[in-house]
Amino acid sequence: MAEIVTKTDYMPKSRGKLRSFCAAFIHKKTAVASFFFFCLLIILALIGPSIVPYNPQTPDYNHVLQGPSWLHLAGTDEYGRDVFSRLIVGTRLSLGVGISSVLLGAVAGTILGLISGYFGKWVDKTIMRICDVFFAFPDILLAIGIIAILGPGLQNVVIAVAIFNIPSFARVVRGKTLEVKEMLFIEATRSIGATKSRIIFKHVFPETFSTIIVYLTMNLGTAILAAASLSFLGLGASPSSSDWGAMLSMSRDYMGTAFHLVFFPGLIIFLTVLSLNIMGDGLRDVLDPKSKD
């Protein structure tokens, strides 16, 4: 979908936009810091497995549950595996689940929102009612229900989390679409007889793009938290994977004896979500100053 924005007729405009965006974003120091932290995480997710000091899956039954030391920065777990290495390798899983579920939710939500906002009337009413119903369910209950039906596993976590992301995207995009629809140039395009789908995807969608980016960033944090909660309840990632939520779930029995097992995965989740939220705030201030939280 992103290619639509970079289509030739938008090139000059978006490049100028990009420059002014960078100029404004650079002033948000915390957001920039968060951005770099997030980049670091992405890099870890990509190259993590090849740089870790220990194989994250190899057990060492003679060194179980050791506290943090220079040898094992974040200690070892109940099988003697290096927690630090597992956290790094787990970046790929945890970010992957978060990103794919939010993207999935964003794509579906955006399409629904565009349709709902553009066509209005009963289409709008129907879509929004359904979204309301989904909205009214607490995320985690909905996810538990979905997973109960689909069965456990990461791909189902992705689906569950994506599903409860749809309404929020649909709503935001719809609101923005309503706004954009009234703008003059859309009116103009319509008058030259452009097709509906062309108007929606070539003209309305790019206008909503900045809003979507902001929401994407913010919801990514929530999605990572939700996925972690599901794994914590034992409904998500396979317990043997180094997914952060799964690590937390496996380690909570050691709360009293090996607190580092609980502490570090929680910390990394917290920092990741924090950086995403700060980044999202910064992006919102720059890209979409009108929208409130």
């Binding site: 109960a148 039906i149 938290l225 914590f232 309840l233 929680g266 989740i269 917290f270 409130k292």
Partner: protein, 307 residues
């Protein structure tokens, strides 16, 4: 307004019927056989069949729904498949702690959230604002189960100040309500801030100042009330969620709330309990929405209830 409320409440009934049907289908869609789960691992097919018959599980699903609705119309929510305890009793016992916990979490989240939001808005772009917003963003970013675990480790195990869980004394409510409220507080703080910042730019604020009103009167007497609409919206939504019980936090603190009952019942495919609880939950949610709507009217006199 009384008329409006009655109208809304009557409007709930058909909604609940629809919800009950969806919920019924949803639950029966989940794979798993309650008869198998309660009969135990040594049970034979014949025994399980007997139980299924007893529970009407061998009838077509629509028939089952009618049987269920018939009971419902007579005020009978049925009994737990697992324990044969009346569902109303099971839920009744859990509801009070859940409501208390929700109120407490919401209460302090509102008070501190609004305070932080006000401070941040008033000191916009100065250190109290940064401090407040760092707190808020952290609150949203914290995994609440982790916060719970860390608090137990610190306050119960290390310091021994608070019990690790349970709901038998007021102390048991402190940590769960913090774990639950932290995120909500953060949200409320952010909404209050951004809304109040907008309001403080309004002309009538300047009017107020030109009349010699103090900042205190301006912020709390004038600006806050009109800034609260978005805050009430989130708070209402979150309160609805809270009433449904928080599975994760209840698990961490072994709190006897609705969330854990629901999860236990889903795991045992204890249909009547799950149905009743989801139904009740929808009802609560609709009710909270009604209260929020009424609050809108209080906060914004332009909204009238003629419709």
């Amino acid at each position: 307004m009384g008329k409006y409320v009655i109208k809304r409440i009557i409007g709930i009934i058909p909604l609940l019927v629809v919800v009950s049907f969806i919920v019924f289908l949803f639950i029966h869609l989940i794979p798993g056989d309650p008869a198998r789960l309660i009969a135990g691992k040594e049970a034979t097919v014949k025994e399980i069949q007997a139980i299924r018959h007893e529970l009407h599980l061998d009838e077509p699903i629509f028939q089952q729904y009618l049987i269920y609705m018939d009971g419902l119309l007579h005020g009978d929510f049925g009994e737990s498949i697992k324990s044969h305890i009346p569902v109303m009793h099971l839920i009744g016992e859990r509801m009070l702690p859940s409501i208390e916990l929700s109120l407490l979490s919401m209460g302090w989240a509102l008070v501190f959230g609004i305070l932080i939001g006000v401070l941040s808005a008033v000191f916009k772009n100065r250190w109290p604002d940064y401090g407040g917003m760092v707190t808020a963003v952290s609150g949203i970013s914290l995994p609440n189960f982790w916060l719970g675990l860390v608090m137990i480790q610190l306050f119960s195990v290390q310091l021994g100040w608070l019990p690790t869980g349970g709901a038998d004394s007021w102390k048991g409510y402190i940590m769960p309500s913090i774990a639950l409220g932290a995120g909500i507080m953060a949200m409320i703080a952010r909404f209050t801030r951004s809304s109040l910042v907008q309001t403080l730019k309004e002309d009538f604020i300047r009017t107020g100042r030109s009349r010699g009103l103090s900042s205190m009167t301006i912020v709390f007497g004038h600006a806050l009330k009109s800034s609260l609409i978005p805050v009430v919206t989130v708070a209402g939504l979150q309160f609805g969620f809270l009433l449904g019980g928080s599975v994760v936090v209840e698990t961490v603190f072994s709190f006897p709330g609705m969330g854990r009952l629901l999860i236990d019942s889903i795991q045992l495919r204890d249909y009547p309990v799950v149905q009743a609880e989801l139904l009740l939950f929808s009802f609560e949610f609709i009710l909270v929405n009604l209260v929020v709507d009424l609050l809108y009217g209080f906060l914004n006199p332009k909204i009238s209830y003629e419709t």
